[in-house]
Symmetry: C2
């Protein structure tokens, strides 16, 4: 079995959402699976001096336009959430908790949470909302809600983010496969060729 694709994403990242909608097709074309790795960009920005795109002069206005256009380009439904960005701890902990016990479900729930935020404008930073969305995707609601406050899951998320930083992750989406890093959904064509050719 070839190694899975590490797909690092922040739940507040529009490009992360587009990547989440597209990564499984890329993986499937090359017989790979996806390892869903939630990320907290805020923690990373404190180390790198980065900032949310939408808050950077000039880049901010362009970015909002590019989110919408990139979504249309890829045929993915998108609506800029009324609250943006939001803290991603609650949905991230649910995905991480699930990955440990039902890996196959983790991707389905991650995509459901992303769509709740970027299509239905639901505030997934609210643990009750996040648990309800996960429940609709097939997870036990009470268990998902409990995972958000579980100290072991909180620790697991801290470790996950620390590992990502140690691996050089600084944005979302960020893919690492066979040691090769790809930042951004706009690098998926390179990722696709890399997987097809075993590097180029």
């Amino acid at each position: 079995m070839p190694a899975p694709i590490d797909f690092h994403f922040d739940f507040s990242s529009p490009y992360g959402y587009l990547g989440a909608e597209l990564i499984e097709a890329v993986a499937a074309r090359h017989g790979r699976t996806v390892n869903w790795r939630p990320l907290l960009l805020g923690v990373i920005f404190r180390e790198t001096g980065g900032a949310p795109l939408t808050e950077v002069p000039l880049k901010g206005a362009y970015s909002k336009r590019d989110f919408e256009r990139s979504a249309r380009f890829h045929g993915v439904p998108f609506r800029m959430p009324s609250r943006f960005p939001v803290p991603a701890q609650a949905p991230s902990r649910i995905v991480l908790w699930l990955r440990g016990k039902e890996p196959a479900l983790a991707g389905r729930v991650a995509k459901a949470l992303y769509r709740a935020y970027f299509v239905d404008d639901r505030d997934i930073s609210d643990p009750d909302v996040a648990a309800a969305v996960a429940a609709r995707a097939g997870v036990d609601a009470a268990a998902a809600r409990a995972a958000v406050d579980d100290p072991a899951v909180k620790d697991a998320l801290r470790r996950e983010v620390a590992q990502a930083i140690a691996a050089g992750v600084f944005g979302s989406p960020f893919v690492i496969v066979d040691g090769e890093p790809f930042w951004g959904v706009d690098r998926f064509p390179q990722l696709d060729r890399w997987l097809a050719a075993g590097g180029f």
Copy 2:
């Protein structure tokens, strides 16, 4: 005649160089011409708080890898210059001076200057080197060298950069066509579809 594609680029930008190698094919597919618009990213970064990619923590190491990989992906020869970044005033003034008098030659000379820097590792920030490269691309060497110190050309470059900032340009390459902005060579697929479909 449809409007030309405004192609904004900084001579120290590796992605700008890749864009310069690729933009004319995109333009030609849609019956457009390219308006070569040199840019000084340093001036823009002072306004936006940006910094050269290679100097940003984590992003720096990734970027150098991505420059090389993106060049291979697009089939463009590339070697990271030994001095990077360099001030882009000299080559920018030559291109701007040429654009005013022989627009058809401006693109050829811009690409020759970019290749001198990103393939042959020549320091194009040196006015004599820049003029010599332009001369090999078909321009009078003495006239090109004189343009670098011409107060009118210096003024023209200041105006060019101010216009770019006013138009929302904040990176390189940056394409604007029919009022639609595209940042990065990785947006060329969107640019291509935009020109084919008249927007999407």
